[in-house]
C-alpha cells in the first residue's frame, strides 16, 4: 500500500494501482483517452503525461503506465507535462472534422472536454484532413470514423474484452481504421457498449440519433429488467419518452457494461400499441369506472364463492412493490395465494435453487471474473443472462477453465470445454461430478452419516456416456482455488441445483473461495420467491378454473400465453371465468380477453425495487411522469396543438396502486423494506443482498440420478430456451432488436437429424399453426443427441409446435 503525493496531497493506494487511478481517488481527473479501468493501460494516446518530481521515477511520464510507488511526488500541473499534453491534443485534433454541432456525442464527449482542459483552443493546422469511409454497422450503432482519435478502446473492448472478431483495427500509421472488414451488422451482443466507451463520436447510439444533447435528457439511475442479473443502467428520456439506456457502473453486478438486449429494450414503453386506457369489456372507460367495477364484481364473486373463488397471478417482471401487495392481498383478503409464473417446471427448479442459496454460498456476477474454474450446468449465458458470458470471458482471459454441461450446444465468447448431456441426465451428471470430487485421493472429513450417503450416491448413480469425463472434472475441481458453480433454472430439473449446492459445499472444504450462481428466468423471480407463494403452481390454479372453483382471475403484468405451452387449454379456461382482470403496460394475447383492463405504468414512470438473481435489492428511479410523448401527440410539432388539463395518455398507474386499491386503497408506494424484513426476517439495504432463510439444508433428493430418462432411450426432447433476442417479453417489442433476431429455427445433433430425415437448412412447415410457423433446421454436434432446441419466442404457436413434436415421437 504505497503512499504518494499528487498535487501536494497524499494518497495511499493498493499495490499495482496506476498513478492515473490514484489521482482519481483524490478527485483529480488526469486527461486520458486510451486508458479505461475495464480495459487497462496501453499507453497509446499519450495525453495523461504528468511530471514526476521526487521518488523512484523522475521526469515526464504517462500516468496510466506507471504504478504508484512509495514516496512518489507527482505534479499534474508540471509545465513540461502541461505543454506536452497540449501538443498531443493538438495532434489528435488535426484531422477531427469539427462537426460537433451534428455529433450525438456532443455534450458528453471526452474529446471535447479534454481539448479544452488540455489547453488546445486554437487551431493552427490549415492543411487537408485525412478522411475515412464510414460503415453501416447495423441497427444499433452509428459509425463516423472521421472523429476517431485512435485510442484503441473499441478494438480492445470488442476483441479482447468481449471475444468477438468482426470489429477491430486495420492499417498502420495514419491509415489505422476501426471497423469491420466490410460493412455489416455487428455480431457481438455487447456491441452497444462501443457507444459508451468510445471517447468521441465514432460510435453513437443509433436508435436515439439526433434526439437530444445529454443535458436535454431527463436522466435517472435504473435497473435493467430484461434478465435476472439486474445490471445497473442510466435511463435517458426526453419529451416523455425513454430513448436511451447506458451502462451504469456497478462493482458487484455488471461492472462498466451491459448487453444489447438491456440497452435497446426500452421501446415497449413508448410503442404506439401500448395500452394507455382502461377498458371494460374491450370498450374504453375511465380509470375510476374500471376500478370501481373491478372492486364491485370481485366483491360479488367473493360473496358467492368465498375468497377461494378469486385467484391472483403476478409475474417476474413486476416490481417488488407490486409483488408484495399481491401477496398482502392474499393474506388480508384470503384470496388464493398469488402465483407468479405459468411455467411450473421453472418454478419448481427456481424454488429448489433458491432453497440451496444462503448467505455464505452466494456469489455476485463480478466475483465470477475472479474464479479459476467455472462449472456451468444447464445454463446458456448468452441467451439467459448475457452479461454472465462476459464475466466468464474475463475469468477465462485470466486463465480460468470454463466447463459447460448442457443438452444445448452452449456457445460462449471464450474457450470452454463442453460436455453434451441430455436434459434428463443433468442430475446424474452432477452426481458423477460429486463422485469424481470424492475420489480416494481426496481427503474430505466425512462423518459416518455422510459417508453412508455418499456410498448410496455412488451405488445409485447410473452410468451415462460422459461419466468418466465428468468424474475427471469433478476430481479436478478439488484442486481449484477459486471455483464457481453456475446452474440454470429453466433446463435442468429441480434436483440439479441442490446437487450443485452439495458439490460446492464439498469443494469448499479444500479451496480458498467458491460459490453458487443461479441465473433465474425473470428479472424479479427472486422477489416472487421471497414475497409471493414461492410454491404456488399454475397447473392447480388452471385446474381450479376449469373445475369452476375459481371464478375470477386477476392477472398482473403477465402474458400467460407466452409462458403456458397449451394455448387452447388456457384460452378455454380463461373463457370459462366469470371475471378476468388484466393489468399491464404492453399489449398481449391476454389483454385482449380481459373483462376489465387497467393500464399500468412502466419502470420509467413507476420506478420500483427488484431483487436480482443473487438476491441483491436494487432500485429503479422514475425518469418520466408518464403520458404520450410530445413527439407523438404533436405529430412532431411542439407544443402539441391539443389543449387539455391532463397529460394525454397519462392514465396508467403503477400496478401496485391498483392492487392496493383492492385492499387498503393506499396511494403512496409501499415501503418494500419492512415487507422484505417480514418475509425474510432480516434487514436489507439498497444494493445489498437479502439472505434467504436457510429453508431446506437437507440432503438433496437422488431419485433422478438413478432412474433412467423418461420414455424410451431414443426419445426426442423439445427444449425451448431463452435466446439473446426475441425471448424476453418486454425487449421483444423493440423493433431494432427484432432486426437482430434470427429466423426461428431448430438446432439438432446430426444423428438426430438423420433419424428424422432432416438436413441443414431444411424448412419445416408446422402443420395447423397460427400464425403459420416455419422452422429452419440447423445442425450442431455439440448438442446432446435427441434434443430439439428452439428459442423461446413470443407470439409463436407453441401448441402446434408441441403437437408436431408429439407426432414425430409417435413415428
Amino acid at each position: 500500500m504505497p503512499t504518494l503525493t499528487i498535487d501536494n496531497r497524499p494518497v495511499t493506494v493498493p499495490d499495482g494501482t496506476k498513478v492515473i487511478t490514484a489521482a482519481e481517488q483524490l478527485g483529480i481527473m488526469i486527461p486520458r483517452f486510451c486508458y479505461h479501468p475495464a480495459l487497462g493501460s496501453v499507453g497509446a494516446c499519450r495525453v495523461c503525461a504528468v511530471g514526476f518530481k521526487e521518488g523512484p521515477i523522475k521526469g515526464v511520464e504517462m500516468s496510466c503506465m506507471v504504478d504508484a510507488q512509495e514516496g512518489m511526488v507527482v505534479a499534474t500541473d508540471d509545465p513540461d507535462a502541461v505543454d506536452l499534453r497540449k501538443h498531443v491534443i493538438e495532434l489528435l485534433m488535426l484531422h477531427h472534422p469539427h462537426d460537433c454541432p451534428v455529433c450525438d456525442e456532443g455534450g458528453h464527449c471526452l474529446l471535447q472536454d479534454m481539448t479544452i482542459s488540455g489547453g488546445h483552443g486554437r487551431r493552427r493546422y490549415a492543411g487537408a484532413k485525412r478522411t475515412h469511409l464510414d460503415q453501416d454497422l447495423g441497427p444499433l450503432v452509428q459509425h463516423e470514423m472521421n472523429r476517431c482519435i485512435q485510442c484503441y478502446r473499441c478494438s480492445r473492448f470488442y476483441q479482447q474484452f468481449c471475444g468477438y472478431r468482426d470489429l477491430g483495427v486495420t492499417g498502420i500509421g495514419t491509415r489505422v481504421y476501426f471497423g469491420r472488414s466490410e460493412p455489416g451488422t455487428l455480431e457481438s451482443p455487447f456491441s452497444g457498449n462501443l457507444t459508451d466507451i468510445c471517447p468521441t463520436g465514432v460510435y453513437t447510439d443509433k436508435p436515439s440519433r439526433f434526439y437530444g444533447r445529454r443535458w436535454d435528457y431527463e436522466r435517472a439511475p435504473s435497473v435493467c429488467i430484461h434478465c435476472s442479473l439486474g445490471c445497473s443502467l442510466t435511463v435517458s428520456a426526453r419529451y416523455r419518452k425513454a430513448v436511451r439506456h447506458e451502462a451504469r457502473f456497478n462493482a458487484q453486478v455488471n461492472g462498466h457494461f451491459i448487453c444489447d438486449r438491456g440497452r435497446y429494450a426500452y421501446a415497449y414503453a413508448s410503442q404506439p400499441e401500448r395500452p394507455r386506457d382502461a377498458l371494460i369489456a374491450g370498450r374504453p372507460a375511465t380509470l375510476a369506472q374500471a376500478a370501481t367495477q373491478m372492486s364491485e364484481r370481485l366483491a360479488a364473486i367473493e360473496k358467492g364463492t368465498g375468497p377461494d373463488g378469486i385467484a391472483l397471478m403476478g409475474s417476474a417482471r413486476s416490481s417488488l412493490e407490486t409483488q408484495a401487495l399481491l401477496a398482502r392481498l392474499h393474506s388480508e383478503k384470503g384470496w388464493r395465494t398469488p402465483c407468479f409464473s405459468a411455467d411450473d417446471a421453472a418454478t419448481r427448479v427456481v424454488s429448489s435453487a433458491l432453497n440451496t442459496l444462503n448467505a455464505t454460498n452466494t456469489i455476485a456476477l463480478t466475483e465470477i471474473e475472479g474464479a479459476d474454474t467455472v462449472l456451468l450446468v444447464g445454463a446458456d449465458p448468452i441467451g439467459e443472462a448475457p452479461m454472465l458470458a462476459l464475466a466468464l470471458r474475463q475469468a477465462q482471459r485470466d486463465g480460468s477453465r470454463i466447463i459447460t454441461v448442457d443438452p444445448r450446444p452452449v456457445t460462449l465468447p471464450c474457450a470452454h470445454d463442453h460436455i453434451a448431456v441430455s436434459g434428463d441426465d443433468l442430475a446424474t451428471a452432477v452426481a458423477h461430478l460429486i463422485i469424481g470430487a470424492l475420489e480416494p485421493s481426496r481427503e474430505i472429513a466425512l462423518d459416518a452419516d455422510q459417508q453412508d450417503r455418499f456410498k448410496t450416491l455412488k451405488q445409485e448413480t447410473r452410468d451415462i456416456p460422459a461419466a468418466a469425463e465428468l468424474r475427471a472434472i469433478g476430481h479436478a475441481l478439488t484442486t481449484a482455488w477459486r471455483p464457481a458453480f453456475v446452474c440454470g433454472t429453466t433446463v435442468p430439473d429441480p434436483d440439479v441445483p441442490p446437487l450443485m449446492g452439495l458439490l460446492q459445499a464439498l469443494v469448499q472444504t479444500s479451496c480458498m473461495w467458491s460459490g453458487l450462481f443461479f441465473p433465474l428466468p425473470g428479472a424479479n423471480t427472486f422477489g416472487a420467491h421471497c414475497l409471493g407463494g414461492s410454491d404456488a403452481l399454475f397447473e392447480p390454479l388452471l385446474a381450479a378454473v376449469e373445475a369452476g372453483q375459481v371464478k375470477a382471475l386477476v392477472v398482473v403484468e403477465n402474458d400467460l400465453f407466452s409462458e403456458y405451452p397449451d394455448q387452447q387449454r388456457l384460452a378455454a379456461a380463461l373463457e370459462s371465468l366469470e371475471l378476468l382482470v388484466v393489468m399491464d403496460c404492453v399489449p398481449s394475447a391476454i389483454t385482449a380477453r380481459a373483462d376489465i383492463f387497467l393500464p399500468t405504468q412502466t419502470i420509467y414512470e413507476a420506478g420500483g425495487h427488484y431483487l436480482n438473481n443473487e438476491g441483491r435489492l436494487q432500485v429503479a428511479t422514475p425518469v418520466i411522469a408518464g403520458g404520450l410523448s410530445i413527439m407523438d401527440t404533436g405529430g412532431g410539432n411542439h407544443p402539441p396543438r391539443e389543449f387539455r388539463e391532463d397529460i394525454p395518455g397519462g392514465t396508467p398507474r403503477p400496478a401496485w396502486q391498483y392492487v392496493a386499491g383492492l385492499a387498503t386503497g393506499e396511494t403512496d408506494p409501499p415501503d418494500v423494506k419492512p415487507l422484505l424484513d417480514e418475509a425474510l426476517t432480516a434487514g436489507v439495504a439498497d444494493g445489498e443482498r437479502v439472505s434467504l432463510p436457510s429453508a431446506s439444508r437437507e440432503w438433496p433428493s437422488i431419485e433422478r440420478i438413478g432412474a433412467g430418462p423418461e420414455g424410451d432411450a431414443g426419445g426426442l426432447t423439445l427444449i425451448e430456451s431463452a435466446a439473446t433476442f426475441g425471448s424476453e417479453p418486454l425487449a421483444a417489442f423493440s423493433t431494432v432488436l427484432a432486426e437482430l433476431t434470427p429466423l426461428f429455427g431448430v438446432t439438432v445433433h446430426s444423428e438426430t437429424a438423420q433419424r428424422l430425415g432432416w438436413r441443414a437448412g431444411d424448412r419445416i412447415v408446422i402443420p395447423d399453426s397460427a400464425p403459420a410457423l416455419e422452422v429452419v433446421v440447423t445442425l450442431d454436434d455439440r448438442a446432446a443427441p435427441g434434443v430439439l432446441l428452439v428459442p423461446r419466442r413470443i407470439g409463436i404457436d407453441r401448441t402446434a409446435l408441441r403437437r408436431y413434436m408429439a407426432h414425430l415421437l409417435a413415428e
Binding site: 496501453v42 499507453g43 497509446a44 494516446c45 499519450r46 495525453v47 503525461a49 515526464v60 504517462m62 503506465m65 513540461d80 506536452l84 501538443h87 498531443v88 495532434l91 489528435l92 488535426l94 484531422h95 493546422y125 492543411g127 482519435i149 485512435q150 484503441y152 483495427v169 492499417g171 498502420i172 500509421g173 495514419t174 491509415r175 489505422v176
Partner: protein
C-alpha cells in the same frame, strides 16, 4: 545420425580439412547471395557447370555456391581457390573462357578481374583488393568460403564447438561472464550489453523462457543480417543454443521477414540439418539440455523489428509495441522471460564462447568492442557488405573500403542508422565507429546501414525521404508518432515544394520535441532524428528553401527553373544529347536552351551538365 559428440565434430572437421584449405581440388566459389542472384548468378552457374562438363573437369573441380561475398556491386562474383582469384561482373558467355583459360590453361582471364579505379590496374587476388584488405571478418568469417547449405562445411570451420563448450563445460553464469568480458553490445541498434541482457533473463524465474532472434531488418538500405543468414546460418543457430543454455530456455524463434526467401530457405535447411545431427532438439551433446528453434515469418512492417511488437507478432497479434517496463527479460513472449538479440549479435556468440571473451575484446575501442558489419550504399564506388574493427574511422570505411565518391563529385554527408539515425558531415568524418562517439555527432551506430550522399543530395529532400518512411511505418498506436511524424512530413514536403514559410523550422523543432518526449517506442522517439540532424548540420539549406526559394543541391523540382545559365554554359551539348524528349535546343558552339513546353522535368540534363550551368 544419432547424438553428436565433440569427437564426431572433430572427425567431420578432419574429413573436410583439405576442402577448407582448398588443397585437394580446385574450388570455384560462386556467390549465391541475393545480390548476385539478382544480377544473374544462377544462370552463370549453369553456364559454368556446362563448361566444366565439356572440359571434363568434373572430378578435379568443385563448384560451391556460397553466401553473400560482400562486394555486391561487382556481382556475379566467382572466387577461384587455390589462389584466391577474384572474378567480377560475370556473364553467361564468359564462363567457357574462364574454364578454358584459367582451369585448363592456368591463365586467369585478365579482363574479368577486379580493376582498381585509383591505381587503374587489375588486382587478381581477392585479399589484395582494398575493399577486402581493410576488413576484419568475424561475424562474416565463413562468408564466401563455406557452402551455407552444408552443415559439415560449418563444422569443418570449428562450428558448434562453442555450443559444445557451453553445454558441456560451462555453467550459465560462466557463459554470461564470457559475454560480459567480450564487451559485446547488441548489434540491432541500441547497443545494449548482451551479457547484461542475458543475466537479467537468467535471473527471472519462470517455467518457460524464450530466445528470439531478430531477423526483421527493416532499415532501408540495410542487408547485413540477410547476408549473414544467407552465408552462415548455423552461426546464428549456434549462438541461440548458447544463449538458451545461459538463460535456461528450451524454445527459440527466429523472426525473419518474408521478403528474405533465400535466408529463410537456408535457415530452414540449417535447422533441419542441425536437428538431424542432434545439435538442436533434445539432449544436445548428451548434456541433458534441449533446445528447438522455429522460424516465424514477419509480414514486413518496420515496427515489428521493435522488440515488444515483434513478440506480439509472434503471438499472432497485431504487431504493436507496448511500453516498457516490464522488460522482455521479465515479461516477453507470452509474458514469459525472453531475450531478443539481433542476427549479427548471435553470429558472434559462438566464437566468443569458443575463443573467450578476451579474444573478442582484443579489438575495438574502450566502450565498443569487436567488429561491426556495415552495409554501404548510396553515392559510393564500392557498394557492399563490410566488417571492420570498432574504432575504424568513417572516412576509412567510405574511402579505403568504399572507394570514395563516384563521378568525381564531392562528399556531402553519410547517413548512419537508417531512418532512426542521423547524418554526419565531412567535418566529422574522422569519427571512429564507436557507439558513444557516433552518438556525440548526432547519429547512431544503428544496425549498420551506411548511406553515402554526394554534393548533389538535397538534405531537406533527404529528411523528407526518411520522414516519409517513418510516418508510413508508424504502427499508428501512439498519437505523437502517428500524427506528429505525418505533420513533419507535410511541412518538409511544403518546404521542398517551395511553399515554406518563416515559422516552419520552429514548428518542425517543436514537433520534434513533442514526438521525442511522448512517443511510446523507439520508432517514434527517434522518428524526428532525420529532421534534427539535418537541421543541425544543414540548417542553411532549409533556410535557402524557405527564404530564397532555392534548392542549393538542385534536387527539389519545384524550386528549379530548368533554364541554362548563359555565363556558365560551355556549349558542350551534353544536355542536348541526354534529354530523352528533345527539349534541349543546341547547336555546335552555341548556348543550350531548354524548351519548357517540351521539358518533363526529369532532371537528366542536371546530372549530365558538368559545369553546373542548368538551374
Amino acid at each position: 545420425m544419432g547424438r553428436m559428440t565433440v569427437a564426431e565434430l572433430e572427425r567431420i572437421k578432419t574429413e573436410h580439412a583439405e576442402r577448407m584449405a582448398f588443397t585437394d581440388k580446385t574450388y570455384l566459389l560462386l556467390c549465391g547471395g541475393t545480390g548476385c542472384h539478382a544480377t544473374g548468378s544462377l544462370k552463370v552457374k549453369d553456364a559454368l557447370l556446362d563448361a566444366l562438363e565439356q572440359a571434363e573437369l568434373g572430378a578435379t573441380v568443385d563448384v560451391i555456391e556460397t553466401g553473400c561475398n560482400g562486394f555486391c556491386a561487382m556481382g556475379p562474383i566467382l572466387v577461384v581457390h587455390p589462389g584466391d582469384i577474384f572474378y567480377q561482373k560475370l556473364k553467361v558467355k564468359d564462363m567457357a573462357e574462364v574454364v578454358q583459360s584459367h582451369l585448363v590453361e592456368g591463365k586467369p582471364v585478365e579482363r574479368l578481374l577486379y580493376k582498381d579505379p585509383a591505381a587503374k590496374k587489375r588486382i587478381p587476388v581477392q585479399s589484395d583488393i582494398p575493399f577486402f584488405a581493410h576488413q576484419m571478418p568475424r561475424a562474416l568469417r565463413n562468408k564466401g568460403i563455406i557452402d551455407p547449405e552444408q552443415i559439415d562445411d560449418y563444422i569443418a570451420r570449428d562450428g558448434y564447438r562453442g555450443a559444445a563448450r557451453a553445454l558441456l563445460e560451462l555453467g550459465p553464469d560462466d557463459i554470461i561472464e564470457e559475454m560480459k568480458i567480450s564487451g559485446m553490445r547488441g548489434r540491432g541498434g541500441a547497443g545494449f550489453p548482451t551479457g547484461m541482457k542475458w543475466a537479467f533473463a537468467k535471473a527471472s524465474p519462470s517455467d518457460l523462457k524464450y530466445v528470439l532472434c531478430n531477423a526483421d531488418e527493416g532499415d532501408p538500405g540495410a542487408f547485413m543480417d540477410r547476408s549473414i543468414l544467407e552465408a552462415d546460418p548455423h552461426a546464428v543457430l549456434e549462438g541461440m543454443v548458447i544463449a538458451a543454455k545461459a538463460i535456461d530456455a528450451h524454445k527459440g524463434y527466429i523472426y525473419a521477414r518474408t521478403e528474405y526467401p533465400l535466408a529463410i530457405k537456408r535457415l530452414d535447411l540449417a535447422i533441419r540439418q542441425a536437428t538431424e545431427y542432434g545439435l538442436l532438439g533434445e539432449d544436445i551433446f548428451g548434456s541433458g539440455f534441449g533446445f528447438e528453434i522455429e522460424i516465424y515469418q514477419g509480414a514486413g512492417a518496420f515496427v515489428c523489428g521493435e522488440e515488444t511488437a515483434l513478440m506480439r507478432s509472434i503471438e499472432g497479434r497485431r504487431g504493436m509495441p507496448r511500453p516498457r517496463p516490464p522488460f522482455p527479460a521479465h515479461k516477453g513472449l507470452w509474458e514469459k522471460p525472453t531475450i531478443l538479440n539481433n542476427v549479427e549479435t548471435f553470429a558472434n556468440v559462438p566464437q566468443i564462447v569458443r575463443k573467450g571473451g578476451a579474444w573478442y575484446a582484443s579489438v575495438g575501442t574502450d566502450t565498443s568492442k569487436g567488429t561491426k558489419v556495415f552495409a554501404i550504399s548510396g553515392d559510393v564506388n564500392n557498394i557492399g557488405l563490410v566488417e571492420v574493427p570498432m574504432g575504424t574511422s568513417l572516412r576509412s570505411i567510405i574511402y579505403d573500403i568504399g572507394g570514395g565518391i563516384p563521378k568525381k563529385r564531392k562528399f556531402k554527408a553519410v547517413q548512419l542508422g537508417g531512418p532512426s539515425g542521423g547524418c554526419v558531415p565531412e567535418a566529422h568524418l574522422d569519427t571512429p565507429v564507436d557507439f558513444e562517439a557516433i552518438a556525440k555527432v548526432g547519429a547512431i551506430m544503428g544496425s549498420g546501414g551506411v548511406i553515402v550522399m554526394d554534393e548533389n543530395t538535397c538534405m531537406v529532400d533527404m529528411a523528407r525521404f526518411f520522414m516519409d518512411f517513418i510516418q508510413e511505418e508508424s504502427c499508428g498506436k501512439c498519437t505523437p508518432c502517428r500524427e506528429g511524424t505525418r505533420r513533419q512530413l507535410q511541412i518538409l514536403e511544403k518546404i521542398c515544394n517551395g511553399d515554406g514559410e518563416p515559422g516552419d523550422i520552429d514548428t518542425l523543432e517543436a514537433l520534434s520535441d513533442t514526438i521525442r518526449e511522448t512517443a511510446l517506442c523507439g520508432l517514434g522517439q527517434t522518428g524526428p532524428n532525420p529532421v534534427l540532424s539535418t537541421l543541425r548540420y544543414f540548417r542553411d539549406e532549409f533556410e535557402a528553401h524557405i527564404h530564397e526559394k532555392r534548392c542549393p543541391a538542385k534536387r527539389c523540382v519545384s524550386l528549379l527553373s530548368f533554364e541554362v545559365d548563359t555565363e556558365k554554359c560551355t556549349k558542350c551539348g551534353a544536355c542536348y544529347r541526354a534529354c530523352p524528349v528533345d527539349a534541349v535546343e543546341w547547336k555546335k558552339k552555341e548556348l543550350a536552351r531548354i524548351d519548357l513546353e517540351k521539358c518533363i522535368q526529369c532532371m537528366t540534363c542536371f546530372d549530365k551538365c558538368r559545369f553546373d550551368a542548368i538551374y
